[in-house]
């Protein structure tokens, strides 16, 4: 039923219109805008690479870059091994496995804004704050969770990890269910115990998924916005200003008209770095997995 006729075009029209106006055109436009000076008020002028130069000369860029990398590193430390461990344990649960995965997934369905505002209350710096009360039970605190430049970022990452870990657990559970049982049986015939089976069967079988969740987490954390925006607004002392927060500030923080050129220039640079990083990552890991 290969038809290239008018009716096919009618069916494609919603896709072409919606993607055309709200996806393809803006992508092209963002490249164009990065070479322009435009703020909705004055006339548009081409400025070559000025926007890129201006962004690269902004001292805040390097702060934001450092903070974003720090967020990503902390998120990997907090959030990368835990879901795997949880998933392996859950996959061996014999009764009420569904209860375990539902509990793990529950934070994912709470609206992110609600989660952040709730945690902001939990992080209250006073001695009667929720977390400080718990710390008090073991003779610690009170801590200045969000008010201290040193602990603000880890506090943000803790909430972000809590909010996202359940999704990764579910992905690992699906991958674990796909490990053929005869591989385990074969390993047992060779005399392997549980740890050897984890090391020689489970982990190699999950390698593909683990590699993908790793890069997806990096790409995701490189674009963190909600947590710094709602928890701290980038403070204290710019210790939680991330790249996306900077882009937002360039474009929308100034009520007199945004610096749209700088904002698109920085977002394109971020996209390019992420694309290069992912390409390099998949090149590198492909040679690992075939060896």
């Amino acid at each position: 039923m290969r038809r290239g006729g008018l009716s096919t075009l009618v069916f494609l029209l919603p896709l072409l219109l919606v993607f055309g106006f709200f996806s393809w055109a803006p992508i092209v436009q963002s490249v164009v805008m990065s070479f322009q000076r435009t703020n909705l008020v004055g006339p548009v002028e081409f400025v070559g690479l000025d926007n890129f130069a201006q962004v690269l000369a902004d001292p805040l860029l390097w702060t934001a870059l450092r903070n974003t990398v720090w967020f990503a590193v902390l998120a990997l430390l907090f959030g990368y091994p835990l879901p795997l461990l949880a998933a392996v344990l859950i996959s061996e649960v014999r009764h009420r496995k569904g209860l375990f995965s539902a509990l793990a997934y529950l934070p994912v369905v709470i609206p992110p804004v609600v989660a952040v505002l709730l945690w902001k209350f939990f992080y209250d710096a006073g001695p009667t704050g929720v977390f400080n009360t718990v710390l008090g039970w073991v003779g610690l605190g009170p801590w200045q969770w969000l008010q201290d430049p040193g602990s603000a970022m880890p506090a943000l990452v803790l909430e972000a990890t809590w909010a996202a870990a359940g999704g990764t657990v579910i992905i690992y559970l699906a991958a674990l269910a796909g490990v053929p049982a005869d591989l385990y049986e074969a390993a047992e015939i060779d005399g392997s115990g549980i740890w050897r089976k984890v090391w020689h069967v489970t982990l190699p079988r999950l390698r593909g998924v683990l590699l993908v969740t790793f890069i997806l987490q990096i790409i995701g954390t490189a674009q963190v916005f909600l947590e710094p925006f709602l928890f701290t607004g980038g403070g204290p002392a710019n210790s939680t200003t991330t790249l996306l927060l900077l882009i937002y500030d360039y474009a929308f923080a100034n009520s007199l008209g945004g610096d749209y050129g700088a904002a698109t220039a920085l977002s394109l640079m971020l996209a390019a770095v992420l694309a290069l990083f992912s390409t390099a990552y998949f090149r590198l890991t492909r040679s690992w997995s075939t060896s």
């Binding site: 996806s23 393809w24 939990f122 749209y260 977002s267």
Partner: protein, 286 residues
């Protein structure tokens, strides 16, 4: 034989069983604390007077509860309006996403025009562009079109979801083609086949796309904040951070609780869909 990593013989050893059971017990405790804990706390705080929540946040109703919080939040703080806005935004985003994904999926997977491969490639390509790249130009597009402070500013861009198109297209491609041929022999045109054959066969995938569309819309924050600056049309997610500044704490926490009810209810009802769909999402993204 339904077995996993640990063999039945290993399960039979006392030591292994004890260690595994203990670890799983610990995990269950941790999951109850971190997964259910905050939800229960929020539910408790929503009906607790401000002073109790401030002085002893972890006590359970030291001085009774205050159901009026919920009513105050709903009426006086006008959560009802923002709730309704959220519902409208979700409903419209759902309709647009479904309309785009099903028509496009049908054209690309069933009608299969010669240029279909090209379109699929350009749609897939957008998956590799970080959303932040679109933010500013998309905002200016919406400003130019005069859609600021209208729901269209949220509804229409929501339709440009490559993820939905891929999902639906794959499902349509897996439907048996003999059914379409038979319908065509019976004289059904492409529109009739779409409406009376393909859509009824596609309930499972339409369910998946629908639930994810509604939940994603309920969660969205940055985009509606940018394009809906007028509080009268803002959804809950955008309004809540602003409310925090002038609403009393107990009422504010009640508002947070109200905002979470629909997504949590959807999750409880469609649990299987979420727990298998989440993995699906990961697979497609990969």
């Amino acid at each position: 034989m339904n077995r996993g990593l640990v063999s039945p013989t290993e399960w039979a050893t006392t030591r292994t069983r004890l260690v595994l059971r203990a670890l799983q017990g610990l995990l269950l405790g941790a999951l109850l604390l971190t997964g259910l804990g905050p939800v229960l706390w929020l539910a408790k705080a929503a009906v607790t007077p401000t002073q109790d929540t401030l002085r002893a946040p972890l006590s359970v109703f030291p001085h009774g509860f205050d159901l009026a919080n919920l009513a105050t939040a709903w009426t006086r703080v006008e959560i009802d309006e923002y709730f309704l806005n959220t519902v409208w935004l979700a409903a419209g985003s759902w309709a647009v996403q479904l309309a785009v994904a099903t028509t496009a999926g049908y054209a690309l997977a069933v009608l299969r025009p010669r240029y279909g491969g090209l379109i699929t490639a350009v749609v897939l390509g957008t998956l590799f562009v970080p959303p932040i790249v679109l933010l500013v130009p998309l905002y200016l597009t919406v400003v130019d079109a005069g859609m600021i402070n209208t729901f269209w500013a949220v509804w229409l861009p929501a339709g440009a979801s490559a993820f939905n198109v891929v999902l639906v297209q794959r499902f349509f491609a897996s439907l048996p083609r003999e059914v379409f041929e038979a319908a065509r022999v019976d004289g059904a045109g492409p529109f009739r086949i779409f409406w009376s054959v393909v859509l009824p066969l596609s309930r499972p995938i339409i369910g998946v796309v629908s639930v994810f569309a509604v939940v994603a819309s309920w969660k969205d924050f940055l985009w509606p904040m940018l394009v809906l600056p007028d509080p009268a049309v803002q959804p809950l997610s955008v309004r809540l951070p602003a409310l925090q500044r002038y609403v009393e704490l107990d009422v504010f926490l009640a508002a947070l609780a109200i905002s979470s009810i629909i997504p949590i209810a959807l999750f409880l009802v469609f649990q299987r869909l979420f727990l298998s769909g989440g993995a699906l999402e990961g697979a497609v993204k990969g």
